[in-house]
Symmetry: C2
């Protein structure tokens, strides 16, 4: 069992509305040492993929993605969830529907950040239905760059995100795979990848 | 001249609407090595302040704040800009008005993250009018913790944020201080701190 699996089982909790609460070590308070360990694991898994950029979606994915970019010695791209005033031109844009929050938003990336030479590793904190990650894949494809894979901290296997990414040709590696969760009970999947 | 000052002068640009565009090395694409240098500078400035936590506001401050927390070997707290579904209880909340975006939002922090023993270093990418940083100070004070200082990447000295924080008793250290900017022209302040 890796460090993150232990943290999720020992310190994660499932709220009444079915949300997994990992605020105190991933979202709201972040342990830099844990992020560094997570990043080293991602870097070792993806080290032979010729990664030229790491990419994440604001804001909970930024901490592990930055550390992974540091380990791989490449830049980090942070996708914005809405067109900002600063990025009003030369943008790739795609709409993402969020099942969990019952909203949709525009995911955006400047057109000049990626080229067809780039091999991009997507890093995110959660993989649920895979809507956000699929949006990131669309933006990378618009740039004619290659998606080298997706590294996920916590995957909920029962929500189908992995299959959605597989259909897009993207290999997923998750550090924690949850196959079932209900109040007071989190069950990890037996298969790691 | 430090590395960040060089980057701002060489690669930053001022848009028609007066916004400083630093997307390609701070906001949208991030250089982990630059972030590490920035963090080492903050760590050396604040090393004798007994810092127990670093705190930032999502999302552009996360990268430099995480690296600073790593250098100081303390946890990072990320303040959310609106009440999230997960954090619906036991929250400190304060309203922040954003001059630049002409909106206001709720800045929130879980009540159990800080105690009166904590000495908190605020890290953020920009200091303009100081509204967001002042909101962070209010949340830290609600916890009865101590604000050890504020470390800023880029300060616009002509917008008064430093004075606002000084009134709240907070010492500000900025790596880049811009005293004037207009299209095609960025002028740094002579005084560094």
């Amino acid at each position: 069992m890796n460090e993150l699996e232990k943290m999720v089982l020992n310190e994660g909790s499932v709220l009444d509305n079915g949300v997994l609460k990992v605020d105190h070590f991933i979202n709201h308070q972040v342990d830099p040492t844990l992020m560094e360990e997570i990043a080293k694991d991602f870097a070792s898994v993806f080290q032979n993929k010729g990664i030229t950029k790491v990419l994440t979606i604001e804001s909970s994915g930024i901490a592990p993605a930055l550390m992974t970019a540091k380990e791989l010695n490449v830049p980090l791209i942070i996708l914005k969830k809405q067109p900002s005033k600063v990025l009003y031109q030369d943008l790739f844009q795609t709409v993402v529907s969020s099942f969990t929050k019952e909203t949709s938003y525009e995911l955006t990336m400047a057109k000049n950040l990626l080229t067809e030479e780039d091999h991009v590793l997507i890093i995110d904190d959660f993989l649920a239905y895979g809507e956000a990650a699929a949006g990131a894949v669309r933006l990378i494809h618009m740039s004619h760059a290659t998606v080298a894979g997706a590294g996920i901290l916590i995957e909920k296997t029962f929500q189908g995100g992995r299959d959605k990414l597989k259909e897009l040709g993207v290999m997923v590696y998750s550090q924690v795979r949850i196959e079932k969760m209900e109040k007071g009970n989190i069950v990890l999947a037996k298969e790691r990848i």
